[in-house]
């Protein structure tokens, strides 16, 4: 299994009570509460952690994109990835991902990603997402056009990377007389494309069709297993067998000497992530048109948004793994065999977790977990397990 250190770069000094009073850390939580001096420190603290991940032997580091939120300070991840191409010497650098429909000119993403691929001499992984619902409030992009803008932007970027320019591009949303980006990507034909998603069936089907690596975010392991099985089934329908390398699970791991100590230490920080930084009202998460009506009805019926979750819930449902080295090894192996993935996208810092605890966690994962999973592939029959 491969391990990527996935950072959300939260503004961990946020006033959690102010977030509660506002009802969310997103869109309407005033940036008066952002202190630039503290923010600047955090950027460097987090970049230092990414460099540590490289030295500790993580296979990659991951950034992502979110707007107008204390949940993550990466509205544009490019500058951070650019910095890391020089200081992360060995590991892959992934942006998972940039939200294609939010830009009015997707060529800027083709250019930015191609630059990062060159700067990293081919260590770059290109993630494409639609962005979550809140982003459509924050960025003034019509959620009803999200799916078609994503499809068109993806098509344009891949063509910009693979067809010699200049050529003309005429779509519904994007129109260019000259598509001819300099530089071209370093990797041929282009950087690996990874698709993170909460588990939309149309996204899974499309990722399987394109043979892109599919990354399941923030879900109980039983859901992860079901989604990965869907991917394998779609691949089979298309006439190929999906490799475990095409499946990545986005999780959180916290390791301490004992289960009790790990739970005690992780609890306030993980609960802050889940119940404060991540919380938003349904109308912010699901603007009309962002998802099809059937999905919206399912989500409304399940009333999944806004319900507070304890660390015990998160551990029991296999959303996160927290415990002694032995517990974490056992669970991770169990989950790998159940769901059949070969990449763990692991948040080692989460919510309000301070620097010293993050670095201790990263070191423990590197020393106690990573070596046991080097070259380990999913074992057993997953079809049965996922049912």
């Amino acid at each position: 299994m491969k391990f990527f250190n996935f950072h959300l770069m939260p503004y961990r000094h946020a006033d959690l009570d102010a977030i509660d009073r506002n009802g969310s850390a997103w869109v309407t939580y005033s940036n008066r509460d952002y202190d630039p001096a503290k923010g600047a420190e955090l950027y460097h603290e987090y970049l230092d952690q990414m460099e540590l991940a490289d030295r500790l032997g993580f296979d990659g580091v991951c950034l992502n994109e979110h707007h107008q939120t204390a949940y993550g300070m990466m509205p544009t991840p490019g500058p951070l990835a650019g910095a890391l191409t020089r200081s992360v010497k060995r590991a892959k650098i992934a942006i998972l991902g940039r939200a294609l429909p939010l830009v009015n000119n997707p060529l800027v993403i083709a250019e930015e990603y191609a630059m990062l691929d060159n700067l990293s001499r081919g260590r770059f992984i290109a993630g494409f997402v639609r962005g979550i619902g809140a982003e459509y409030h924050a960025m003034g992009i019509n959620p009803g056009l999200s799916q078609e803008r994503f499809a068109e932007a993806h098509d344009l970027i891949i063509r910009a990377w693979t067809e010699p320019g200049p050529f003309q591009y005429v779509g519904k949303h994007y129109h260019f007389n000259y598509v001819n980006p300099w530089p071209r990507p370093y990797q041929a034909p282009h950087p690996p494309v990874w698709i993170p998603s909460q588990g939309s069936s149309s996204t899974i089907k499309w990722a399987a069709q394109m043979r892109y690596t599919y990354a399941q975010t923030l879900s109980p392991i039983a859901v992860v297993a079901r989604m990965f099985q869907m991917y394998r089934d779609e691949a089979e329908k298309l006439g190929y067998e999906a490799s475990p390398d095409q499946l990545a699970w986005s999780n959180t791991i916290y390791v301490a000497e004992t289960d009790e100590k790990a739970m005690r230490e992780a609890r306030p920080h993980l609960e802050a992530l889940t119940n404060r930084f991540l919380k938003m009202p349904t109308e912010m998460l699901l603007p009309p048109g962002y998802s099809n009506i059937e999905s919206v009805k399912r989500i409304r019926a399940a009333k999944i948004t806004g319900k507070p979750q304890t660390l015990d819930d998160l551990v029991r449902n296999g959303v996160v793994i927290v415990g002694s080295p032995n517990t974490v090894r056992e669970k991770l192996a169990e989950y790998q065999d159940l769901a059949g993935f070969n990449t763990s996208l692991t948040k080692t810092q989460f919510g309000t977790l301070p620097d010293d605890m993050t670095r201790a966690n990263m070191t423990a994962i590197a020393e106690e977990i990573l070596p046991h999973f080097r070259g380990r592939l999913p074992q057993g029959k997953r079809q049965a397990a996922a049912e």
Partner: protein
């Protein structure tokens, strides 16, 4: 006959539901983002008019055509519909999103119109006027921001709990968002051409409208030559429902004065 008959009409391949009732000159009512219906004020109007209340493409029982991207598409669709039904001297009335369609239609072509009435209408932007973001409130907050009277709000909240309408509500909201999300509720180019509207125009506004506050009525009045404003007291965004009698009196008074002048 003042109760409506619901039929379907197909305009260039797009089939929509059309409620029609009453007799007299045609009065075409274009509904807002909440969707179509035949509330009591329409029965009042049908006593003197041939009231046509279509359900917009993309809403309720009507088709969602591939060509539907913006309000101007709907304005041109209704120009086609008016041609197809061969209507003349149409008294065009639009509420909120429907008012935006009506204004867009009239700025393009008034050949078959007799008058224009906008109620709590979208379509333009007035700087510095606080508005409720209807996409960032929940169902209850939305109703509370639409109406003025606490009693009516309670009635509306009780009526809103109708799961059998969920599909229609979600469809209407999805289409509304697609049409008005960005820029939020207006087209920066519409205000440039409202001067072209050359039929008598009346702006009927709830005095306490929080969605498109009364400053919007004043702004439309400045932009549409010769237009007049009636503010309905004790009313929010939907005066035709909240102050039915005052609304009907205002509309009929305007239409009668227009006829007298003609």
């Amino acid at each position: 006959m003042t109760e409506p008959v619901t039929t379907r009409i197909s305009v260039r391949g797009c089939s929509i539901a059309l409620m029609r009732g009453g007799a007299g000159r045609p009065l075409l009512f274009l509904h807002g983002g909440g969707g179509a219906g035949w509330p009591p004020f329409m029965t009042d109007l049908a006593a003197r008019h041939d009231v046509l209340a279509p359900e917009h493409p993309g809403f309720g029982a009507s088709d969602t055509p591939d060509w539907l991207d913006n309000i101007a598409d709907l304005a041109r669709f209704y120009l086609d519909l008016i041609d197809q039904l061969d209507l003349h001297h149409v008294d065009l009335v639009g509420h909120s999103l429907g008012g935006w369609i009506a204004a867009e239609l009239a700025a393009r072509n008034t050949r078959r119109l007799g008058s224009l009435t906008l109620i709590g209408s979208a379509g333009i932007h007035v700087p510095g006027v606080p508005q409720v973001d209807t996409f960032l409130v929940n169902d209850e907050q939305l109703i509370r921001s639409m109406f003025d009277s606490p009693k009516l709000i309670e009635t509306m909240l009780a009526q809103a709990k109708r799961p059998e309408l969920e599909d229609v509500i979600l469809k209407n909201r999805t289409t509304t968002a697609k049409l008005v999300w960005q820029p939020r509720g207006y087209d920066p180019h519409l205000a440039k051409w409202l001067h072209r509207i050359d039929v008598p125009t009346h702006l009927i506004w709830g005095a306490n409208d929080r969605i498109y506050p009364k400053e919007y009525a004043s702004a439309f009045q400045r932009l549409i030559p010769g237009s007049s404003v009636t503010l309905i007291p004790d009313s929010g965004h939907v005066p035709q429902v909240e102050q039915r009698a005052a609304f009907v009196a205002a509309l009929e008074g305007f239409l009668a004065a227009k006829r007298a002048a003609a």
